[in-house]
């Protein structure tokens, strides 16, 4: 679960500020963060993931008090407990899909790459319908396939929280629905918390909770 209270964040040298009195997303719940571009959706996702440290308030993700973690702990927390999905997929061009999916295990010694993990990568790819694309590179596949591979990478460590930043932003309508269904399916099955930042109102019906950001940003 994600629990935010009295959270405030200001970018240095900028007028933008984010202030959240309270936000709670339970285990197994799927929440959408909506609002115009620049309203702070991505900033909140970064704060929750520990990508940027919070300045005040409390931020709890399951058992972790994120605001109290140091840099190394936040990195380990991120790679173990958080799955991150990006709008631009952020797959590495020099790795094939299979190695892209396994990449979190190669960038932090806190995760140990085993045969079991590799099998999980294959199973995830099979569940996403990209088994035959595992040997392909970024330039050799479609946008939908790339986002599926990126989701496999986000889910490979079986995270308790999945944060997705505009995951459907680059996809056609059919792929949008499929990608959201895949993320929701994972959250239900694993009792994981799903938080999706989006400005795509067509997909909001799929979420248990919709949070409008306009009231928090100033």
């Amino acid at each position: 679960m994600i629990e935010v209270s009295d959270l405030a964040y200001h970018y240095p040298d900028s007028n933008f500020g984010l202030s959240i009195d309270r936000l709670a997303v339970e285990k197994g719940q799927c929440a959408a963060l909506i609002g115009p571009s620049g309203c702070g959706k991505t900033t909140l996702l970064h704060l929750i993931a520990g990508i940027i440290p919070s300045q005040s308030g409390a931020l709890r993700v399951n058992a972790h008090e994120v605001e109290k973690l140091n840099d190394a702990e936040r990195r380990l927390f991120r790679v173990r407990d958080i799955g991150v999905v990006f709008q631009d997929f952020a797959l590495l061009d020099y790795l094939n899909f299979f190695d892209n999916i396994l990449h979190p295990y190669r960038i932090n010694p806190g995760l140990r790459l085993t045969g079991e993990v590799k099998q999980r990568a294959r199973d995830l790819a099979a569940s996403m319908g990209i088994t035959d694309k595992l040997g392909r590179f970024v330039g050799q596949t479609s946008q939908g396939e790339m986002q599926r591979a990126a989701i496999c990478r986000a889910l490979i460590s079986a995270p308790a929280v999945v944060l997705a930043d505009e995951p459907t932003g680059n996809l056609d309508p059919a792929n949008k629905v499929e990608i959201i269904d895949i993320l929701r399916g994972y959250a239900r099955e694993r009792q994981a918390t799903l938080l999706v930042a989006t400005h795509d109102h067509e997909i909001l019906d799929a979420f248990d909770l919709v949070v409008d950001f306009r009231e928090w940003s100033r």
């Binding site: 970064h46 993931a49 990508i51 840099d71 190394a72 990195r75 380990l76 927390f77 991120r78 790679v79 173990r80 958080i82 991150v84 990006f86 952020a90 590495l92 061009d93 020099y94 790795l95 190695d99 990449h103 979190p104 295990y105 190669r106 960038i107 932090n108 010694p109 806190g110 140990r112 790459l113 590179f137 990478r153």
Partner: protein, 396 residues
């Protein structure tokens, strides 16, 4: 730790393999810049060893006035740099002093790429050359071939080899002579291995100073006779001279002048003892004209010093080029990592540890360095096959 290293190497390897053209270019540039000084050092060291060993094994060399370096290189390595002709009386003069043995060398001719060395049996003894197959020189036209020359020419005792004309335009003098191979020398690892040895008188026949032809007194073809009187018979150009010396025509070979007055290219001088050597050197050093007598070790030392001076200059140039290459490689690396800034942001957001990024950079450098060293090793191994040729090039 081992897992982290393995992961870093894996990621580095995948990156380098994906950008293979950039990687190959970097590896090749580093390998070449590594290879050149090592190879140069290797060739120069081997050249010095070979030059020194051969020079140390040759007490003194006698030759006509002129370049002592040309004389020594020709007498020791049978190089194409031919010194001026040394009259045989100068060679026999050494013998007559009783202080040393003079071994004539006539190296003007060759059979293809293999020098023909006209000398005496003393040369074989002085160099410690043993006959691996066949027999030693006995009569005119006999030839002993070095181990490598026999391999290259694919000849054995009983075969023959033809001398190459020294000058294609000298129609009046030298004709190719078919030499009878009577023996093959055991390998010595010296220039002797690539040479063909004949008696010095055979070399004069190659030179056109002697020849063999049919007996004019009993010829069956009177048209070859130009003029006949009580004391001599003069033949015209129709007279056939022998191009090969056989047991049957051996007796017809003769010199029209006194062989004792012919010339050679030089002579090895083996003094009776150190004192005799010093006396001889002193005598020749005191002369302002006439032949020169030199210690090859001293002449070669001068050559080696020149080679090392050139090498020092080359080392300095290579150092600068190496430094420029290294700086270029550093710039390429830095630009490459700047281009990968988006990747760094992505892996940071995924939870990459601080050490992992340093690990990727180090692993990439290690892989490039290892590949460059391996390629350099390969180049050195390949060059080793031709190293003898390079050393030969320096010597000649």
């Amino acid at each position: 730790m081992i897992v982290a290293i393995r992961n870093s190497l894996f990621v580095a390897w995948r990156y380098l393999a994906f950008h293979r053209i950039r990687t190959i270019t970097l590896v090749a540039a580093l390998a070449i810049i590594l290879f050149i000084p090592l190879f140069l050092e290797w060739v120069v060291r081997d050249s010095r060893e070979q030059l020194t060993a051969r020079a140390d094994g040759t007490p003194m060399v006698l030759g006509a006035p002129g370049s002592s370096l040309d004389l020594v290189m020709n007498s020791l390595y049978f190089t194409r740099a031919r010194p001026q002709a040394l009259p045989m009386p100068d060679v026999t003069a050494i013998d007559e002093t009783g202080l040393a043995l003079a071994i004539p060398l006539n190296t003007r001719f060759s059979a293809g790429a293999h020098p023909i060395v006209g000398t005496t049996l003393d040369y074989l003894e002085m160099r410690g050359l043993n006959i691996a197959a066949g027999r030693s020189l006995a009569v005119l036209g006999d030839a002993l071939v070095g181990h490598l020359a026999a391999q290259a020419l694919e000849v054995a005792p009983g075969d023959s080899v033809i001398s190459s004309p020294e000058d294609l335009f000298n129609l009046a003098g030298q004709y190719p002579l078919k030499l009878n191979i009577v023996g093959v020398l055991a390998p010595t690892g010296s220039p002797d291995d690539k040479s063909i040895f004949v008696d010095v008188r055979t070399s004069w026949i190659i030179e056109g100073l002697g020849h063999g032809h049919e007996d004019l007194a009993n010829t069956e073809d009177p048209s070859v006779i130009l003029k006949r009187d009580q004391t001599s018979i003069v033949a015209n150009a129709k007279l056939r001279t022998h191009a090969v010396i056989t047991a049957e025509n051996l007796g017809s070979f003769h010199f029209h002048d006194d062989p004792e007055q012919f010339a050679v290219t030089g002579a090895l001088v083996v003094p009776r003892d150190d004192k005799a050597g010093t006396i001889l050197l002193g005598r020749y050093a005191a002369r302002s004209d006439g032949p020169q007598l030199v210690r090859p070790g001293m002449v070669v030392q001068g050559l080696i010093e020149t080679i090392f001076r050139i090498k020092t200059l080359l080392d300095a140039v290579i150092l600068l080029v190496g430094l420029a290459t290294l700086l270029t490689v550093v710039v390429v690396f830095m630009l490459s990592w700047r281009l990968r800034e988006k990747e760094l942001v992505t892996i940071f957001r995924l939870g990459c540890s601080r050490g992992a990024i340093a690990g990727f950079v180090i692993a990439e450098i290690v892989v490039i360095a290892a590949a460059s060293i391996a390629l350099c090793g390969g180049l050195l191994a390949g060059a080793a096959l031709f190293q003898g040729k390079f050393v030969e090039m320096i010597i000649s």
